[in-house]
Symmetry: C2
Subunit: 225 residues, 2 copies
């Protein structure tokens, strides 16, 4: 039995959950607060941050740490329900987009909006700084425009097949949607993509997330928003 240590409003953790669910891998979920992880958790890995997957195999346990290792591991296990296309260039594009979210989107959007709206709420400290939120929202407009431009030309973000690029985008966008940060009427191509994403069974877990201190907008769980 595999155990995934994750935090519901953490995009990297969500990527791990979505990828494992797409591959129909059964896991037990354990929630970890990334800002105040328990000592028992930090001793599991050098990284000390979720997501971390513990797998029990003949002879012992294996620890797989981090979004990149876990999502590729999920895909490596079998050829069923692939998360990367067979075409090497489309595979490369999927990994480029996943890296775009793991670095650039994280630095330019999450570091502003999630740090203000999630971290401050969880830590019980100061209220969100409107100037920081405004800057994060400006960056978010740029990113949603870029994703929309890609989706004007493609079925899925990396090309013709659903991929780890879509997993990464679904994870980040769904957290922002939970926080009411996406004005869907401004982004019809992206909305169409997100409707397809939300209807995938692998999204059920994150769509049903409830987090103390937060109330998602009503459309968050609505597949036909």
């Amino acid at each position: 039995m595999r155990t995934l240590y994750h935090f519901p409003l953490h995009p990297a953790s969500r990527q791990a959950r979505i990828a494992l669910a797409e591959k129909k891998l059964k896991i037990k979920e354990e929630i970890i607060d990334p800002w105040q992880p328990s000592e028992a958790f930090t001793e599991l890995t050098a990284e000390s941050v979720p997501p971390v997957l513990i797998d029990i195999i003949p002879g012992g346990t294996v620890t797989i740490s981090g979004v990149r290792a876990i999502t590729e591991y999920a895909n490596d296990g079998s050829t069923r329900h692939p998360l990367l296309a067979e075409d090497v260039f489309e595979r490369a594009e999927a990994r480029r987009i996943a890296a775009w979210f793991d670095t650039r989107f994280t630095d330019e959007v999450d570091a502003y909006i999630l740090s203000e709206k999630v971290e401050k709420t969880i830590m019980g400290g100061a209220s969100a700084d409107p100037a920081v939120l405004r800057e994060g929202r400006e960056h978010l407009q740029f990113h949603l425009g870029y994703l929309s431009w890609l989706l004007e030309q493609r079925d899925w973000l990396a090309g013709r097949k659903y991929s780890l690029g879509d997993v990464a985008a679904a994870a980040h966008i769904s957290v922002l949607d939970f926080l009411g940060e996406v004005k869907w009427r401004d982004w019809p191509d992206l909305k169409e993509w997100y409707q397809k994403i939300k209807s995938r069974p692998a999204m059920r877990g994150v769509i049903n997330d409830r987090v103390a201190g937060f109330r998602a907008p009503r459309h968050y769980t609505d597949l036909d928003f």
Copy 2:
């Protein structure tokens, strides 16, 4: 013919060069200054930073952007000279270590030492700040200790096989060695690993790098340092 846009003292660019060389893929190299990229280069990709690989295929050109996409693409092309083990857990460990370098080592070491010693020299601005360098060197000690601990137990960083984890480490460590930042006598396990790394033909390119404004220590090019 493939063209790789890179910068010699940029660890992500070096990873791309090493991975492509390990797979015996012939490329033409074009040097890009990551801090002052040309407009012609920034128009190639949304990322606007090296490494970027342009591949000419029947019907057009393909752009592969970023260290993660390029290194996995290099490995995906053939099963010869593999950069990931067959074992799924060792593959996961290789990707964990590559991510460790791409995020944590970059943030905790490169952001201090390379920003002070490389970026400031290239940009022709202020001289290096000793306090920032000191902090980066303290972080580097922690990281070299962690890598040494892994290598006490393993042949290569991710386990029994040379992998993308070693490629990532070789790229970052070789840039720091070029700058004279690694005190090899303090790290015998790591030194033994780096001697094996340096003797690989795929390292010849980065070992022969010459960069205007910099003089590498004499041992940098010495395989038996």
